[in-house]
């Protein structure tokens, strides 16, 4: 009897110690951000929100940006325009590999500053090949070099997008104007889409982005360039906060050589339509059947 009670006392002591150690091990979680907002935790999928709910969410996100980054911003919900299907073409004969498009993207889309994130990577490839294995992105010499050509790569907004297929929670989908978007407040961060993308077009927010208040671009949209939360995917949206309002993507405006052509492919008078009809365009990794809406071409 005595022995049993001593054993029980030891067990209780052990269990208490164990529970205390467990609590101590979990202690860092008290500083975890998602634990602070019930509304954010319970927020439903973008497609299930009515205008009033979405409005409340946009105001909450604006408040959060002010609080976290000290920047007052306006976050809109810009919808696709009926009759518009976007297409993008890039002239490889004139691209000089200056990476100004990548830099413009970095600023326009409120990317993390320390990692110098951008949705565009520019490949420098040996002339005489379009094998990506013969290319590199880490060149750091004066451009252009005569024996090379330059190929910027960003999201191809595929019509048969592998990233959309694999997402287990429908956090990413293709919009009516052809743009593939992410609901940053629905994504669970499994990164299956990042594995599925053949163009290295998706990025993960490995930590909360860092941007000085004065550098935050205040013109934002829910599905595009608002500052992303930690732990979710992000990607190029053809700057939908600009293009859906009739403006051009930031990467196009920054291009010094006019290598980039963007527009509505359903408009017979558009420049993009002219390029697609008159230039010998090709898409990257066509054999994968992804059907990109991003095209490359050479002059001549």
């Amino acid at each position: 009897m005595d022995d049993t009670s001593r054993r029980d006392a030891l067990k209780v002591g052990g269990a208490t110690l164990g529970a205390a150690a467990f609590a101590r091990a979990l202690a860092p979680l008290t500083e975890w951000e998602p634990t602070t907002s019930v509304d954010a935790f319970l927020q439903r999928h973008y497609k299930e929100l009515d205008p009033a709910e979405l409005g409340t969410i946009l105001r909450r996100l604006e408040d959060e940006t002010l609080e976290d980054y000290g920047a007052s911003v306006s976050i809109e919900d810009v919808r696709p325009t009926p009759g518009v299907r976007f297409g993008y073409a890039l002239n490889l004969s004139v691209c000089i590999g200056c990476r100004r498009c990548a830099e413009a993207c970095h600023q326009e889309n409120n990317h993390d500053r320390p990692s110098h994130q951008s949705y565009i990577r520019v490949l420098e490839i040996d002339k005489g090949s379009i094998d990506l294995e013969k290319g590199r992105t880490d060149y750091d010499h004066a451009v252009p070099r005569g024996d090379k050509f330059y190929m910027p790569v960003q999201c191809h907004q595929c019509d048969n997008a592998p990233c959309v297929k694999v997402c287990p929670v429908e956090a990413t989908w293709k919009e009516a104007d052809g743009i593939v978007v992410v609901d940053y407040n629905w994504c669970i961060g499994c990164r299956y889409c990042e594995a599925a993308c053949p163009y290295h077009a998706r990025r993960f927010n490995w930590e909360k982005p860092e941007i000085p208040a004065e550098e935050v671009n205040p013109d934002q949209a829910y599905l595009s360039n608002r500052v992303r939360p930690a732990g979710v995917m992000e990607k190029c949206t053809f700057c939908l906060h600009r293009t859906r309002k009739g403006k051009l993507p930031a990467c196009l405006e920054a291009c010094p050589t006019g290598a980039r052509v963007f527009g509505n492919v359903l408009d017979p008078d558009s420049e993009i339509r002219w390029v697609l009809e008159n230039k010998r365009v090709f898409v990257l990794k066509e054999d994968l059947g992804t059907r990109p809406r991003f095209f490359y071409y050479f002059d001549g």
Binding site: G14, E31, A171, C190, P198, Y199, E207, G289, T290
Partner: protein
Amino acid sequence: MQAPPTVPDVAPTAHTRTYPQFLWQALRVATDGGLPFYAWMTALTAVFLVGVNAFAHQTVEGLALTAMSDHVSWGMYIGNFTYGVGLAAGAVMMVIPAYLYRDEAMHDVVIVGEILAIAAIVVSLAFVNVDLGRIDRIWHMMPVVGRFHWPVSMLTWDVVVLSGYLFLNLHVVGYLLYTRFLGRTPDPRWYVPFVFLSIVWAVSIHTVTAFLYSGLGGRPFWNTAILAPRFIVSAFVTGPAFIVLALQVVRRLTHFHVGDPPISTLVAILRVTVLGNLFLLGSEVFTELYSGGTHTASARYLYFGLHGHHALVPWIWSAITMNVVAGALLLSSSARRQLWRIDVACVLALCGVWIEKGLGLIVPGFVPSSLHELVEYLPNQLEWKVTLGVWALGLMVFTIGLKVAIAVFSGQMHAQKGAA
């Protein structure tokens, strides 16, 4: 373990008294034992807590604390997830002899395999969860309340088959232990159909897990039809290898009777599967390297290194060496007279497949990246801590499961007279 449906000759109300009794006694058995038991569980708890703490830091500060990047966006966690699913599926190699071939000796110990399946599924699910960027949003994956992208996303299929397999094994183990606890003979109608279903299901969990990778056209290293067969065969290496070792531990440390025949049967299975696994690996390597070309860059990186990058080369050659030595030992040793050589082979096979199907499978899928950039990956200290923590959790589940099962089978745990 969920309550079994009513057994015809017991008044339904009796279960409301006997089932809590069963759970209570199970809890006592799970927390009571000799010094080695306490030492073992304390050690596992300590490792588990180190993992919990590392995971808490990772959750707060982000996955930036790991060595993963946009180039290699899955690593140690998903590698271990894959391996864990294999271990769970491999446990079926006890169930098939026991139920399909009516091997009586195997039938007596088959519960060990079913408990391993439960523990390994717990491990796999934990690895997927620690890999998520937003674990607070896990409910988005639940059907009805979330948006479950089924049947298009293979990951949703994986959720279905893994939780289904967990449920099947929990039911079978729970039912068998509870009826034994009541002192009754289990009614085959309540568990045999589930056992047969679990055999098919075991194959499905590892097939679907292979399809997660092989369905991606943009990753040539994974985009191969041989991946699912390779997964299944390697699962039939790790499952039996683990059980051979576990059965001997049970035999040494407890009064539970484990005869030689089940071990011999498992060793016979291993002799085939270890070689089968090497054969499939060889087929893969030949196809990749003989044809050449850009799509074989990942394989060249894995086995020989590429443009001065060769972080995985020592790992994969260690794995191949271990698997070859394991095969040689299994073929040249007698399970009855030289069991220690079989044990060495099992440990080697477990480690070899762990590398081959863990880092050796996941990482080369990303190296070079889809734009052919070469960014390497090896897990960092935090990932090791979380990984060991998850395995410690799995071993705790396995230990407790075994301990309760043995207590029931040996009669130490039984319903009080008059209760049932």
